[in-house]
């Protein structure tokens, strides 16, 4: 976890009604996104536009492993079908690096257009915490990020859900 970024909180002013303003504090995440498709990279950028998260893109599994090894990330979104190194191999490699370093496991969310039961079993056994089936909606992506990020993000993403104050 990158402490410098972790502790850098961001205040968003949310307008719920003309007479009411609330300040919601959210924590930015460093998110590594391994995705070879330009279209899907653009989509993630649009989905997360306006969020404070920092997005770092890798175009194949090998690059994702290299970036992971060299940097500090809070979350990885991992496409499964990529050139050079696929998502399953990249995930296994990252888990092996963590084991070698005796470091905590980073959450890895698999992105896949193949979500048959056997595919999901492979994804889980490789070390992914979660999988999202493509095509992915904005709501699905934001919910998954919220589930693996700080709980207070829920207040930013679902302001009308009536969540209790932290």
């Amino acid at each position: 976890m990158c402490d410098a970024i972790r502790h850098e909180s961001v205040n968003l002013v949310e307008n719920r009604s003309p007479n009411r303003q609330e300040s919601v504090e959210i924590e930015p995440l460093r998110i590594l996104i391994a995705e070879d498709s330009v279209d899907n990279r653009k989509l993630v950028q649009v989905y997360l536009k306006g969020s404070p998260h920092r997005l770092i893109f890798a175009e194949d599994g090998r690059s994702a492993v290299d970036l992971f090894s060299a940097g500090n990330f809070d979350l990885i979104l991992m496409d499964m079908q990529m050139p050079v190194m696929d998502g399953l191999t990249a995930t296994r490699t990252i888990r092996a690096i963590e084991q070698e370093r005796h470091s905590a496991q980073i959450p890895i969310i698999a992105l896949t257009a193949n979500a048959r039961r056997q595919d999901v079993e492979l994804i889980r056994s490789a070390g992914c915490n979660e999988h999202l089936s493509k095509p992915i909606s904005k709501h699905t992506l934001l919910s998954a990020i919220a589930a693996y990020g700080p709980k207070c993000q829920l207040r930013w993403m679902f302001p009308k859900a009536g969540l209790p104050n932290p």
Partner: protein, 98 residues
């Protein structure tokens, strides 16, 4: 239109037009692996951009490419070309409307 996608949908459709030409060439060259890969990406992106029909056609194309079914691929590529052409025409008319 889906929120926030307006800026990237035109580019997405333009890329599909170019990609269809590439897919037809791949079919002629019997490069089924690359054809399956492009179809897989189409399946995974279409509905996110607001075009579930592209996801459906992409899924069918991927299946046919894995089966090396040239007859089905030819029909599905024609269907894809027609669909993207219709969407593009609609988009052009909408942008030229007073």
């Amino acid at each position: 239109m889906l929120s926030g996608l307006e800026e990237i949908v035109p580019g997405y459709l333009a890329t599909r037009r170019e990609e269809i030409a590439e897919m037809i060439a791949l079919l002629s060259a019997s490069r089924f692996d690359r054809l399956a890969s492009l179809s897989h990406d189409l399946k995974g992106s279409g509905a996110s951009y607001g075009f579930p029909e592209l996801t459906r056609i992409g899924s069918a194309l991927e299946h046919s490419a894995k089966q090396m079914d040239t007859t089905a691929l030819s029909l599905q590529l024609t269907e894809l070309n027609n669909y993207v052409g219709r969407v593009q025409l609609f988009a052009n008319n909408a942008s030229n409307a007073p």
